[in-house]
Symmetry: D2
Subunit: 134 residues, 4 copies
Amino acid sequence: MASLNKVMIIGNVGGDPEMRFTPAGHPVTSFSVATNRTINTQGAEPKKETEWFNVVAWEKLAEQCNQFLAKGRLVYVEGRLQTRSWDGQDGQKHYKTEVIANRVMPLDKRQTAVGEIATGAEATGEISPDDIPF
Amino acid sequence: MASLNKVMIIGNVGGDPEMRFTPAGHPVTSFSVATNRTINTQGAEPKKETEWFNVVAWEKLAEQCNQFLAKGRLVYVEGRLQTRSWDGQDGQKHYKTEVIANRVMPLDKRQTAVGEIATGAEATGEISPDDIPF
Amino acid sequence: MASLNKVMIIGNVGGDPEMRFTPAGHPVTSFSVATNRTINTQGAEPKKETEWFNVVAWEKLAEQCNQFLAKGRLVYVEGRLQTRSWDGQDGQKHYKTEVIANRVMPLDKRQTAVGEIATGAEATGEISPDDIPF
Amino acid sequence: MASLNKVMIIGNVGGDPEMRFTPAGHPVTSFSVATNRTINTQGAEPKKETEWFNVVAWEKLAEQCNQFLAKGRLVYVEGRLQTRSWDGQDGQKHYKTEVIANRVMPLDKRQTAVGEIATGAEATGEISPDDIPF
DNA sequence: TTTT
DNA sequence: TTTT
């Protein structure tokens, strides 16, 4: 029963966020974040490895992400990991792992007044667990 | 360039860990960890949602995980997320997201003397980036 | 403006928690947590170093801590650091650093049914910022 | 024995870092970091609360902090908490809590080429536990 | 003041 | 595939 599922990333937003609404009217915003890691291949030149995260925000946080984030911005994202699975046309299982955000915070000074974007609580899919459009 | 990619989980080991060796002789241990979340569907009875993580440990940490972990144990795992992709037989992209561990710590008292399992540094794939068997 | 202040500890509760109430009736529970670190003094035998944390919980989380925690239990605590200062009788500044908890989770199986203790949000001093009794 | 002692902060450096050397020649750099929290006093205007952290870095990380950080820069700091105590002239116990950093990462673009500052391992006082000048 |  |  004792459980922790926490992800913390700092990286650059890969594209402008996209906001949609569930049938029940809950806003959901998704965007990607790239994190980079430098691998010291001793000998050769250091190699860069990029890891992409799919981030999903719900409710008020979804609206703030949609309003304040944009392609290229540096952000801090905190949340939990969630893997969804489905069957492909070929009968194979497919998996997609996403970060369900409970805090998103721009770290650069670009654009509009931003301030801190944060949900008090995990304003997430819990609210509408079987109501997710994508 | 500024980047953070951190995962922290506390959960139960889903099965006995499996250790393999890369062609170059590096030990790699993998195991699954389940985290549970209780969703308060206001009205009906609370629903349980289980999230499964695939954890991979390298080198000395791999050996310690193999030696001390076992199905059912409660563990703390810290690491970074890594998604690998490949093309299925049907031409579709497949993805698998794993936690590359840099710290694993049993939290229960079961079994042998355990102590703390921790790599000093991220003793991971960096060491043998193009040497991964699975 | 962009800010993160996060502490995560796993350790043993040093004594039974103590719950008090602010003049305005808000419950506050405090307890200590010990974390241990093993220092490898290369050569001599490894040395143990204990770090003590003062943890403070508010509102519903305060009540849960008071009810379920006890001396010796293993807990996970997440929160933010807060340092309070005051002037000693001698005119010197004194400081006390505490962890204001927003999540507390027992990790052992001792005692009563425990389940997960967690505030949805940071149910902390924000609620009664100028209302703190100790 | 199972223990976690982790602090993660994002904030602004309060002053230029200061590097010293232990008698044994180990570099130690210290600097302060301010994190801000906005308290919504429902009713009145939101209040700002600043929390100051004393950060200490050792060895190679100390040199990098000394070289790349400066007053005002936005940084991510990860480390562990350590409280030192001593007796005041008045016989009272005094306490100072510090963050012993194992990772420091500038988040803004100011100044020189910065890149990522990170120790592979916790390059900390372990190395010279009884060798600390301040 | 905890724990192994 | 775990745990309570």
